[in-house]
C-alpha cells in the first residue's frame, strides 16, 4: 500500500517534472492559462448579452486547479496515444502498400509464418509497461484532485439538482439562490476554494463546468463532493451532463467569480428579505393568492414553496429558466404567461393568467432586487 503510493508519487515526478500540490499550483497556473485563454470563445450564447462573460465550456482552457491538472493529463495521454497510433497505423499502411498482390505475380502461396514466441512476448510486455505507467499517473492524479481538506477560508455550498434547474444554498451565509453560483476570487494570500456538497431532489444530474473541474453526479440519496478554485474573475458556463429527462438540454449552469468585496456585497444583499414596495402590492397579492406561492419562496412573505427557485432576489440574477433567457421584463412576461413556450416540458405549468394579471405579477417580480 505504502510502496504503491510512493510509486505513484515517483511516476508523477517523472512525468510532470514539476511539483504538484494542487492548491499551490494555482499561482503558476494563472500564467499558464493566459496563453490558453485566447481559446475561449466570447460568450455569445444569449442574444443581446455583452461580452463580459468568460466564454463557453472549453475543457482545454482550464481556469481552476482540478481542470488544470486534467488538462495537463490530457496532453500527456494524447501524446502517448498519438504516438501509438502513428506507429501502428504507419506500420499497417506500409505493410498494406508493400505486400499488396500485384497483377502479374507468380502463383503459389507466400511463406507461412505461424508466430514467434519472442515477438509475441515483446508486444505483450511493451504495452504492459505503458499501461502500468499510465496507471501510476492516473492513480496519482485521482488522489491529487480528490485528497484535499478544505482550508478555513473555503466556501461551502450545498448544490441541489432539480428537473431542470440548480439550487445553491450557502450554508455559512444563510443564502439560497438558483442557477447562478457566485464565488469569491482567490488572491495570492487567501485562497478561497469552493467546496460543493452535491445532492439531488429527483433524478440524477451532473455538475459540469469544464473550465473549473471535471464533472460529478448529483445523486438522489447520496451526498457527493467536488471542489474548484477559479483563478480569474468572470462568468464560467456549464450545464447538466447526465441525462435527466425532457429538458436536460436546458439545464444550464453559470458560475460567477468576483472579488472578495463584490462577493461580500452580494452576500449581504442576498441575506436581506424581499423588498416591500406598495406600488406593486396588486402583483404581490396575485402572486401570493395564486399557486405561485406553492412552489416558490419569497422571504418576508408567506410564499414558502420549495419546488421552484427561490425568487427573493430574482432580479439580482442575469438569467431565468436555468440560464437560457436573459432576465428582463420582456422575457419574464413571456415566461409567466406561458413557460412551456420557452422551455417545453418544464415543471412550471401555464397558469392561465389574464394579460392584466401577468403584467401585475411581472411588475412585482421586477422589484425583487
Amino acid at each position: 500500500m505504502l510502496s504503491g503510493v510512493c510509486l505513484c508519487a515517483l511516476a508523477g515526478e517523472f512525468v510532470f517534472a514539476e511539483p504538484s500540490g494542487t492548491s499551490s499550483e494555482a499561482a503558476s497556473a494563472v500564467a499558464h492559462t493566459e496563453a490558453n485563454a485566447t481559446l475561449a470563445v466570447p460568450g455569445t450564447r444569449l442574444p443581446g448579452q455583452d461580452g463580459s462573460q468568460e466564454g463557453w465550456a472549453i475543457t482545454l482552457s482550464p481556469l481552476s486547479p482540478p481542470a488544470q491538472t486534467i488538462s495537463d493529463l490530457f496532453y500527456l495521454i494524447l501524446g502517448i496515444m498519438v504516438c501509438i497510433f502513428l506507429v501502428v497505423g504507419t506500420t499497417m499502411a506500409v505493410l498494406i502498400f508493400r505486400f499488396r498482390a500485384g497483377r502479374n505475380e507468380p502463383g503459389g502461396e507466400p511463406p507461412q509464418i505461424y508466430g514467434s514466441k519472442p515477438i509475441e512476448l515483446a508486444w505483450t510486455v511493451g504495452p504492459a509497461i505503458i499501461v502500468f505507467v499510465l496507471f501510476l499517473v492516473t492513480a496519482r492524479s485521482i488522489f491529487d484532485i480528490r485528497a484535499t481538506t478544505p482550508p478555513k477560508e473555503a466556501i461551502h455550498v450545498r448544490v441541489v439538482g432539480h428537473q431542470w434547474w440548480w439550487e445553491f444554498q450557502y450554508l455559512d451565509h444563510n443564502v439560497t439562490t438558483a442557477n447562478e453560483l457566485h464565488v469569491p476570487l482567490s488572491t495570492d494570500g487567501t485562497p478561497r476554494p469552493v467546496y460543493l456538497d452535491l445532492e439531488s431532489a429527483d433524478v440524477i444530474h451532473s455538475f459540469w463546468v469544464p473550465q473549473l473541474a471535471g464533472k460529478t453526479d448529483l445523486f438522489p440519496g447520496r451526498v457527493n463532493h467536488m471542489w474548484f478554485q477559479p483563478n480569474r474573475a468572470g462568468w464560467f458556463i456549464g450545464q447538466c451532463a447526465e441525462y435527466c429527462g425532457t429538458q436536460h438540454a436546458h439545464m444550464w449552469l453559470r458560475v460567477k467569480s468576483e472579488s472578495e468585496d463584490e462577493f461580500q456585497k452580494w452576500v449581504a444583499q442576498q441575506q436581506k428579505p424581499a423588498v416591500l414596495n406598495s406600488a406593486v402590492s396588486a402583483g404581490r397579492d396575485l402572486f401570493l393568492s395564486n399557486a405561485c406561492a406553492n412552489c416558490h419562496t419569497i422571504r418576508g412573505t408567506h410564499a414558502k414553496g420549495i419546488f421552484g427557485p427561490d425568487l427573493t432576489h430574482l432580479m439580482s440574477r442575469e438569467t431565468i429558466a436555468s440560464g437560457i433567457r436573459l432576465n428582463n421584463k420582456e422575457n419574464l412576461t413571456q415566461w409567466v404567461q406561458d413557460p412551456q413556450a420557452i422551455k417545453d416540458g418544464c415543471r412550471m405549468p401555464d397558469m392561465q393568467l389574464t394579460e392584466d394579471s401577468t403584467q401585475k405579477i411581472v411588475a412585482y417580480l421586477l422589484t425583487l432586487h
Binding site: R45, L46, A57, T59, L60, T69, I70, L73, I77, F85, V88, G89, T91, M92, L95, F99, R100, A101, E109, P110, P111, Q112, I113, G115, W123, T124, P127, V131, L134, F135, V137, T138, A139, S141, R146, L198, D202, V203, I204, S206, P210, G214, K215, T216, D217, F219, P220, G221, R222, N224, G238, Q239, A241, E242, Y243, C244, G245, T246, H248, A249
Partner: protein, 556 residues
C-alpha cells in the same frame, strides 16, 4: 414436415407456392435458415435505427434548431441506442454464429435446434414489442410515445414518478425478451462447440472465429441474467411497490447502475469478440497466410473474457465512488488493453510477407483494424479517471463508443457479410459496388464521428436535443454531412445485396480459396451440411487438402 431448402436458388423453389415457402422459413429449425433470419432481422432494424440517428443529426444541424422537440429527440436517442445494440449488432453476430459455427466445426446442426428457433423468435418479437410502444403505450404525449430514458435507463428516471405511461414497460419487456432469446443462443452455442465437433477438431484446432464465439457465448451467460434480474426488479418497483431503485424509500439508484453495467460492459465485448473472430478469418485468407500467433490470439480472447467482467464501474467514474474503487477499475481497464493490443499486433503481423488481395471483405477488415485502433486508444484515454471526469457524458464519449461499436464491430460484421455471402447465397456480391460501399462508409464514418471528439472537448454534452453555442455548430454540421454520406453507402449496400441475389456471379464452393470447413461444402450447403462428416487434422483443413505435401498439421 417437408423441409424446404428455400435459401438456394434451385429450380424447385419456383414451383413451390409462396405460402409453403414462408411456412418453411417460420417453422424452420435449420441453423442456416435461422442464421439468415437473424441477418434479415438485423438489416430491418438497422434501417430503422439508422433513420432515427439521421433525424437526430438533422436536428443538431444548427444551434437552437426546432426540427424535433425535446420529447421526440429523447425518444430517438433511447430507441437508437437500444435498437442498434439489441436488435442490430446482437442478431447480426448471432446470425453469423448460427450459420457458420456448425459448418466450421463440421457439424450437421446446432446442439438444440428447437431452442435455437425459440431464441431467434424471442429476439425478433422482443424487437417488435419494443417498437409496438409507438402504438401501444398510452402516455402524456398522445399517440406517439416511446421510452425516453436513454438506453441504459438510469434509475430513478425510470420510476413511475418520472416515466409515466407504459413506454418504459415496453422497453423493459422488449429488451428482456430479447435477452432471454440471447441466453438461449448462448447456451446452444456452448453446447454445440463442446459436443458437436467433427473428429480431430480438438479445442486447439478450432478456427479462431469459433474460439471467439465460444468465449462470447460464455460472456452472454454471465452478463445477460443480471440484466434480466435488474429489469424484473425495476418492474417490481413500477408495479408492485418495491423500492429497489427508489432512493426516497431507502432504495438505491446506484444499484441499478452496478447491475446494468455488470451486463453493459461485458456486452461491449460480446459485440466486439465476434468482430475479432471474423477479422481473424478474413485477414489470413486475403493475405494468403496463416494467422500469426494462433495460441496467443486464443489466450488473449480468454483473457479479455475474464477481465471484461471486472471493469464495469469504469462507466461510473463520475458517480462519486471512493478513490480506491476508482483506482481499481482504472487498473482493470488498463489491463484489458494488453490482450486487445496483442490481437491488433497479431493481425498486423499476419499482413507481413503476405500477398494481400484487397477485395471488399479485406477492405472492411482493414477498415475495422484502423477504426478499432482509434476507438481502443480513446478507450485507454477514458480510463485515465480524472480525464474521464472531464469528458464522460460528452460527445467525446459518443465518438469513442461509435469507433468501437460501429468502426469496430459493425465494419467487421459487414466484412463478414461480404465474405460469407457467396456461401449463403451461392452468388458473389458485386465487387465494384462493394468498393463504393466501403469508400462511402469509411469516409462518411470518419466525417461523422471524428468531429464528435472535438465537440466533446469543447464541452458539448451528449443527449442534448439542442445547443446554443455557435462554436459547436461546425462540428455538428460535419457530423450531419458524414451521416448523409454514410446513408448513401448503406443504400449501395442494400442495392448490392438485391442485385447480387439475382444476378451475382455463381460462386462455387470455395470462391476465396479459403481454408476452413465451411468452404468444403456446396454454396449454399445442403440441409445436412456435409455428405460425409469430415475428419480434420489441423486448424486449416482445406489448406491440408490443397497442399498435401506441406500440411499445417506438422507445424501445430
Amino acid at each position: 414436415m417437408a423441409t424446404v431448402n428455400s435459401y438456394s436458388k434451385s429450380t424447385t423453389s419456383a414451383t413451390i407456392p409462396l405460402v409453403t415457402r414462408l411456412h418453411g422459413w417460420v417453422s424452420s429449425v435449420d441453423h442456416k435458415q435461422i442464421g439468415i433470419m437473424y441477418l434479415i432481422m438485423s438489416f430491418i432494424f438497422m434501417v430503422v435505427g439508422g433513420l432515427e440517428a439521421f433525424l437526430m443529426r438533422a436536428q443538431l444541424w444548427e444551434a437552437n434548431n426546432t426540427l424535433v422537440g425535446p420529447e421526440t429527440f429523447n425518444q430517438l436517442f433511447t430507441m437508437h441506442g437500444t435498437t442498434m445494440i439489441f436488435f442490430v449488432i446482437m442478431p447480426m453476430l448471432a446470425g453469423f454464429a448460427n450459420y457458420f459455427v456448425p459448418l466450421m466445426i463440421g457439424a450437421r446442426d446446432v446442439a438444440f435446434p428447437r431452442l435455437n428457433a425459440l431464441g431467434f423468435w424471442l429476439s425478433f418479437f422482443g424487437g417488435c414489442l419494443l417498437y409496438y410502444t409507438y402504438l401501444g403505450a398510452e402516455g402524456l404525449y398522445g399517440a406517439s410515445n416511446a421510452p425516453d430514458i436513454g438506453w441504459f435507463a438510469y434509475a430513478p428516471l425510470t420510476s413511475p414518478a418520472y416515466s409515466r405511461g407504459n413506454a418504459t414497460d415496453y422497453w423493459i419487456l422488449g429488451t428482456m425478451m430479447t435477452g432471454a432469446g440471447t441466453i438461449a443462443f448462448g447456451v446452444n452455442l456452448i453446447a454445440t462447440i463442446f459436443t458437436m465437433r467433427a473428429p480431430g477438431i480438438r479445442l486447439t484446432k478450432l478456427p479462431l472465429f469459433v474460439w471467439m464465439m465460444l468465449i462470447d457465448a460464455i460472456l452472454i451467460l454471465l452478463a445477460f441474467p443480471p440484466l434480466t434480474a435488474a429489469q424484473v426488479m425495476l418492474l417490481f418497483d413500477r408495479y408492485l411497490g418495491a423500492h429497489f431503485f427508489d432512493p426516497q424509500s431507502g432504495g438505491s439508484a446506484l444499484l441499478w447502475q452496478h447491475l446494468f453495467w455488470f451486463f453493459g460492459h461485458p456486452e461491449v465485448y460480446i459485440m466486439a469478440l465476434p468482430a475479432f473472430g471474423i477479422v481473424s478469418e478474413i485477414i489470413p485468407v486475403f493475405s494468403r497466410k496463416v494467422i500469426f500467433g494462433y495460441a496467443s490470439m486464443a489466450a488473449a480472447t480468454a483473457a479479455i473474457g475474464l477481465i471484461s467482467v471486472g471493469v464495469w464501474a469504469h462507466h461510473m467514474f463520475t458517480v462519486g465512488m471512493n478513490d480506491m474503487v476508482d483506482t481499481f477499475f482504472a487498473a482493470s481497464t488498463f489491463l484489458i488493453a494488453i490482450p486487445t493490443g496483442i490481437k491488433i499486433f497479431n493481425w498486423v503481423a499476419t499482413l507481413y510477407g503476405g500477398r494481400l488481395q484487397l477485395r471488399t471483405p479485406m477492405l472492411f477488415a482493414l477498415g475495422f483494424l484502423s477504426m478499432f485502433l482509434i476507438g481502443g486508444l480513446t478507450g485507454i484515454m477514458l480510463s485515465v479517471v480524472p480525464f474521464d471526469w472531464q469528458i464522460s457524458d460528452s460527445y467525446f464519449l459518443v465518438a469513442h463508443f461509435h469507433y468501437v461499436l460501429f468502426g469496430g464491430s459493425l465494419f467487421a460484421l459487414i466484412g463478414g457479410f461480404y465474405y460469407w455471402f457467396p456461401k449463403m447465397s451461392g452468388r458473389m456480391m458485386n465487387e465494384q459496388l462493394g468498393i463504393w460501399h466501403f469508400t462511402f462508409l469509411f469516409v462518411g464514418f470518419n466525417v461523422l464521428f471524428f468531429p464528435m471528439h472535438i465537440a466533446g472537448l469543447l464541452g458539448m454534452p451528449r443527449r442534448v436535443y439542442t445547443y446554443a453555442e455557435p462554436e459547436w455548430e461546425i462540428w455538428n454540421q460535419l457530423s450531419t454531412v458524414g451521416a448523409a454520406v454514410m446513408g448513401v453507402g448503406f443504400l449501395l449496400f442494400f442495392i448490392n445485396i438485391a442485385h447480387s441475389l439475382r444476378h451475382g456471379e455463381t460462386a462455387g464452393d470455395d470462391p476465396w480459396d479459403a481454408w476452413t470447413l465451411e468452404w468444403a461444402t456446396t454454396s449454399p450447403p445442403a440441409t445436412y451440411n456435409f455428405e460425409e462428416i469430415p475428419t480434420v487434422e489441423s486448424r486449416r483443413p482445406l489448406w491440408d487438402l490443397k497442399h498435401p505435401d506441406d500440411p499445417d498439421s506438422q507445424y501445430e
